[in-house]
């Protein structure tokens, strides 16, 4: 076996370790927005390596084919050099990763030094692809080809997913003689983005606390005041109302202990910091509107109607919401009003759970989950925004309020309504045991539900625009896309006691 093949095999092995250990596990590049360019370079290199491994595994290239291979190797070299520059620019490499990259470079250099003379010689001969078989080495290189192409595809998809959000059109601001200063945490999430745009549109001065200020700038331009942390706000800033929406997505990565702690910290720590910041300020806002979720009631509540007076649950989502609300409750006595919104499943076109569901249903892959009898307490995004704004403006809004529509449905009914709204059948069924096997404890989000009712919102005279699911889904499906400004109508403000 020529030495060059051993070096190529070593290159594949080291590259695999680098990808899995450094890029995927430690640096988590596929989910890191600042690594998008690096991911693009890795994707290009991975996709190039696939054919290169295959060519060395099963063929001997002559003439123009050898020239093509030489060209590909030259392109790979340029990509690698660009990658060196990019990764140094965008992140801090660990000593171990630097050493591994050094070894990869030395190994690749040695491989090229050995292979180039042969390739150059072959390039001058007549064009041909001569089959070759190097036994187990051919199969090993084939395995590398599959792995490399797979990683290339994964990184290309991840880079695409991290593309910058297209700058939305400027928000049309209505004249407002009594603008308020409103601080929003979690302002770049699904609900936060829509809320900030709505508040800007009605003429309020909005401060957005965003972990990624660049994303916030892309979303709101210079129409909001953006800060990476509360400490970055001027000490003299006067805030009329605070809306706390910050929190890592609950559905996503498996609920390991570490993930659970991250979910707790992202909510409770932010809320505590927010309340401490308010406490430190001489001029207090008049209201803190803090998000929570109907998960507060716990998973195993069957068909029991759950108003704000129901007892809390004892599973993880319930404890998470409990700690979150407790964090917000610390503001009692500091600000005149604390309003805790226990938010249900938010339906909107541009995010939340509905977007991936609609995609599946449009492909005819939708279906009920588990036995379909679990309740889904939903709320249209427009109604939720109206409720939050009402909670800001209306001094009678305080304490816990269920932010759900008046008519919750079972999962089976939801499935039927969603399938009907996109004119597709929903004949599939996701068995509970499969979901529990795949998602573990997190499957409770899909398999259990709460029949929450908006008793308090009703008592306070809040008028839901979307009271029944078919109407809500029809509006969402009919809407081409949420262009922001066009939809910044003052939903719910008709009923708000301002």
């Amino acid at each position: 076996m020529p030495v060059a093949y051993w070096l190529l095999a070593a290159q594949g092995l080291l590259g695999g370790i680098d990808n899995i250990w450094n890029h995927e596990w430690r640096a988590k590049l596929p989910s890191s927005p600042s690594a998008r360019r690096e991911l693009q370079l890795h994707a290009a290199r991975g996709l190039i390596y696939g054919p290169v491994f295959l060519a060395f595994a099963w063929a001997e290239l002559r003439g123009l084919f050898a020239v093509a291979l030489l060209t590909i190797l030259a392109i790979e070299l340029v990509i690698t050099l660009a990658d060196f520059v990019e990764e140094d620019r965008s992140r801090a490499l660990s000593p171990q990763e630097r050493i591994l990259h050094g070894l990869l470079t030395l190994n690749y250099g040695a491989f090229l030094a050995l292979i180039l003379p042969d390739l150059l010689t072959h390039a001058t001969t007549e064009s041909a692809i001569i089959p070759a078989d190097h036994g187990w080495m051919s199969w090993l290189l084939t395995l590398y080809a599959v792995g490399s192409s797979g990683f290339g595809l994964r990184e290309a998809i991840a880079a695409h997913g991290l593309r910058p959000v297209v700058q939305r059109p400027a928000i049309q601001v209505r004249p407002n003689l009594q603008p308020q200063s409103i601080l929003v945490t979690g302002g770049t999430g699904f609900i936060g983005t829509a809320l900030v745009r709505r508040l800007i549109a009605r003429g309020d001065k909005v401060y957005v606390i965003a972990r990624s200020p660049a994303k916030a700038v892309r979303l709101f331009g210079n129409q909001a005041l953006i800060a990476p942390s509360l400490q970055a706000l001027p000490e003299t800033v006067k805030i009329d109302a605070v809306v706390n929406l910050a929190g890592a997505p609950v559905f996503g990565r498996p609920w390991t202990d570490a993930r659970k702690v991250a979910l707790v910290r992202s909510r409770v720590d932010t809320t505590r910091a927010l309340v401490d910041w308010i406490a430190d300020h001489a001029v207090k806002p008049r209201v803190l509107v803090s998000a929570s979720a109907i998960g507060w009631y716990g998973a195993d509540r069957g068909d029991q109607p759950l108003t704000e007076n129901a007892r809390s649950g004892s599973d993880f989502p319930a404890m998470l919401c409990g700690a979150w609300e407790k964090g917000a409750e610390r503001a009692k006595g500091i600000v005149p009003r604390v309003c805790r919104l226990r938010i249900g499943l938010v339906l909107g076109r541009d995010g939340g759970m509905l977007r991936p569901m609609m995609r599946a249903f449009r492909l005819g892959l939708g279906g009920r989950v588990g036995n379909g009898r679990q309740w889904m307490s939903w709320i249209h995004l427009e109604d939720l925004l109206a409720l939050i704004i009402r909670a800001i403006d209306d001094p009678t809004f305080q304490g816990a309020i269920n932010a759900v529509a008046p008519h919750p449905v079972t999962n089976a009914a939801f499935t039927r309504a969603l399938a009907a709204s996109v004119h597709r059948p929903a004949i599939l069924h996701a068995p509970a045991f499969v979901l529990r096997l795949m998602l573990g404890e997190m499957a409770t989000l899909l398999l259990d539900g709460q029949r929450a009712l908006p008793e308090r919102a009703d008592q306070l005279g809040f008028q839901f625009r979307y009271r029944r699911l078919p109407a809500a889904l029809a509006e969402i499906v009919a809407r081409k896309s949420d262009k922001g400004a066009q939809h910044d109508h003052p939903v719910g403000l008709r009923t708000a006691a301002r």
Binding site: D257, A258, K260, V261, V264, R265, V268, D269, R272, V275, D276, I278, A279, D280, S314, F316, A318, M319, L320, G322, A323, G327, R330, A331, G333, I334
Partner: protein, 196 residues
Amino acid sequence: MTILSDFALPRDKRLLKGLMGRSFDRLASAVRDVHGTEQIGYWRGLCQVKRGRSLLSKLVGWWFQFPPAGFYPRMSVTVLRDRVGEVWMRAFGSHDIKTRLLPTAPGARIVRECFGLVEFDLKTGIQDGALTLDVVGMRTLGIPTPRFLWPHLTAEEANEGGWFRFDIKIDLPGRVPLIHYLGWLEGSAGKAERAI
């Protein structure tokens, strides 16, 4: 691996309360707050960490993933409860340490703390309202470990001006210093509460 079948779950949801019974109420309020939350617990505070300098200390510290020596002006403790016990996650800056607390026989006042493959049985005691802990057993991979290999633990959790103060010193056999934590968690006298 931890075999759970030999554990009798305490009746009280709160692990320490279940183990200590009525004597739990003799603990200082800040200690009861931290060990007595029925749901998720989350506290912030500050901590000074000192590490042993011997090669053995460094090796053991690395194995247990102890935080580097230094002052941590912002650390946090998160406690998750489940059917079996409690998960304690301490965050020192970006450095996390996770241990699992499990109950042993009720009335024995012994809590089992699991650091991955190594478990320690800690006898709880009360001294002037402070919680004290002593090592009374150690298992590695579930196998009882000879006493001469047990670490020496000096642990006290107390109330100090409404703050939860913890002073935990662990020495390796032969009194070789391993790690010393001294810190305070914001208790019921948090910044927000003081502002009211």
